[in-house]
């Protein structure tokens, strides 16, 4: 029965899979392989064909390039600046939202609406917020008596400003994941701990947060990967400046590939970046595997 089924369903299966697989091969797998091949050649944007064989020289050049490392460091620095607040605040807001049943829609609106906006819109709004002297945030900081930082113009501060914007923009996603995690915690656990005399604060610390550890591990890995992929905010708000202080890893690829026309080298830089993202996912997989039996 099973074998005749296999015979009869093979052809329809092919037809069902074909539309997706064709596009998938053409636009995901194909370019991935092509990019990998290209990274071993001196391929140029302005000529056809792969160009001269380069061996590992593109990789050697990227790994010894100060610009590549500093772009990678900016991306890591951005990830360090954004990940802790994006997780802590999302958790805090979700825990606070748990305490009420009314007005959920309002909190979802406030925290999640920014997340669906295009990066360019977010960038325009925040460039205006950060405009020296005139911007709302600039005025607010001066009003409470602090010296106004040169938000986007100071090479040491620009990344912090980009991080603030990003926290505002993408917090809603983590907030929603935490709300879903909270909804899965059985009510009886809270009731039981209340009968045992635990106050609300103890409940949160000893019951709720530990039970959210799976959600937290998911939120952390998704956040780290999303932060590593940063491109839009820098590209629109600072163009990687001032003085390349906010150029991200992806913008480095963009610059060498599409401004310097060095496709092969850009492909090698992309591949190195991909390895970093893959390593983060792998670490997460190993760590959650180890966690699983306890839960």
């Amino acid at each position: 029965m099973a074998s005749t089924d296999t015979g009869r369903q093979g052809r329809p299966a092919l037809w069902f899979l074909a539309p997706f697989l064709v596009l998938y091969v053409l636009f995901i797998v194909g370019p991935a392989i092509y990019g990998l091949v290209m990274s071993f050649f001196h391929t140029s944007m302005v000529s056809t064909g792969l160009g001269e064989f380069a061996g590992l020289s593109n990789y050697a050049e990227a790994l010894s390039s100060a610009d590549f490392w500093s772009a990678l460091w900016h991306t890591v620095w951005f990830t360090i600046l954004t990940t802790p607040p994006l997780i802590a605040l999302a958790l805090l807001f979700a825990l606070l939202a748990e305490r009420t049943t009314r007005g959920r829609w309002f909190f979802r609106l406030a925290f999640f609406l920014p997340y669906v906006l295009p990066s360019a819109v977010v960038a325009l709004i925040w460039i205006w917020m950060y405009t020296p002297e005139l911007g709302l945030l600039s005025r607010a900081v001066s009003a409470i008596g602090l010296g106004e930082p040169n938000w986007l113009g100071d090479p040491d501060f620009a990344m912090v400003s980009l991080a603030i914007t990003t926290v505002w923009w993408t917090l809603g996603f983590n907030f929603v994941l935490y709300l879903a995690g909270l909804a899965e915690i059985p009510r009886e656990l809270h009731e039981a701990s209340a009968i045992d005399g635990a106050g609300p604060w103890q409940q949160i610390r000893l019951v709720t947060v530990p039970l959210l550890s799976r959600t937290t591990s998911l939120v952390v890995v998704l956040q780290v990967i999303a932060s590593l992929k940063v491109f839009d905010q820098m590209y629109v708000m600072t163009q990687g400046g001032p003085n390349f202080a906010t150029r991200s890893a992806l913008q480095y690829v963009f610059d060498v590939g599409f401004t310097d026309f060095r496709s092969g080298y850009a492909a090698a830089a992309s591949t190195l970046f991909f390895v970093v993202v893959l390593a983060v996912s792998a670490v997460w997989l190993v760590m959650t595997r180890r966690q699983e039996p306890e839960l």
Binding site: L21, I28, L117, A120, I125, W128, M129, F173, T271
Partner: protein, 277 residues
């Protein structure tokens, strides 16, 4: 004692809600300020007040009259709608095969598509650019639409949902003589509406908001999508802050509407189907 615990809990809950409302308002301030600025005349945007002395739609009028933004709307709608339809159809068909049909290379197809979840599309821009350049598709809508269609995770969202639909239903239809395509279209898909709407909304929003790839693929201002157009003109308004904010508000408007219409589905899509699967 119980009463005092209750009162303490209630006080605690009230404080929590108060703090959260304060944060929520803080989160809405940038959006409100953008709208507020857009409704001022350009010359009054340097006033630090929320009150608008001479409210005007002049900035919106000027932008719409100038016309680029209408082209961008058209480009964004066309590319997002077609990419979204393409994703829903191709991913659900593939998921149906993985969920319902028995064939020799099923596990291979499964893993082959699973690999795609790991590849961030951003690392593919250089080879894609050459690929689409070679077939002269750059600077067409197709350059934006086609690469956005194969979203590997959408296949798994559908597969997971299809796996939860009792097989008796489509087997009954099969006994009545319905082919696989009819079973898919008339039995499985109508039952999978939550998955369809989650995938559709996300595919639409992702295509609409994508910047890096369309920025490379579209250099002709007449067919730029909204994010590319806004990123390109960013800075050219100079100190005409009201015009800048009006363009941001116009760029945000369609997605604000999508959000208001579908907010429950979007939130459920994130929480339930898409990412935890």
């Amino acid at each position: 004692m119980n009463a005092s615990v209750d009162r303490r809990t209630r006080l605690f809950n009230r404080t929590c809600v108060g703090v959260l409302i304060a944060f929520a308002i803080l989160w809405l301030v940038p959006l409100a300020w953008a709208v507020d600025t857009a409704l001022k005349p350009n010359s009054e945007t340097t006033n630090p007040t929320w009150a608008i002395d001479n409210p005007t739609l002049a900035s919106f009028g000027a932008l719409l009259a100038q016309g680029d933004i209408l082209n961008w709307y058209a480009a964004s709608f066309i590319t997002s709608a077609l990419a979204c339809a393409g994703t829903v159809v191709t991913a659900s068909l593939a998921a149906y095969a993985l969920s319902r049909l028995r064939f020799r290379f099923r596990w291979l197809a499964f893993w082959f598509i699973l690999v795609g979840i790991m590849i961030p599309s951003q690392v593919l821009v250089v080879p894609r650019f050459r690929e689409l350049g070679a077939v002269n598709l750059l600077n067409t809508y197709w350059a934006v639409i086609l690469p956005q269609i194969p979203i590997a995770i959408a296949v798994f969202v559908f597969k997971q949902f299809f796996d939860g639909i009792p097989k008796d239903l489509d087997e009954a239809a099969r006994i009545d003589g319905a082919g696989f395509l009819r079973t898919y279209a008339q039995i499985v898909m109508p039952l999978a509406r939550p998955a369809v709407s989650a995938v559709a909304i996300f595919a639409f929003v992702w295509t609409w908001n994508d910047l890096l790839w369309p920025l490379l693929a579209l250099s002709n201002p007449e067919i730029m999508t909204i994010p590319v157009g806004l990123a390109t003109v960013q800075g050219t308004y100079g100190i005409r802050y009201a015009d800048t904010m009006a363009s941001a508000v116009l760029g945000a408007l369609p997605l604000v509407m999508v959000f208001l219409l579908f907010q429950r589905r979007i939130v459920e899509g994130i929480a339930g189907t898409g990412l935890k699967g």
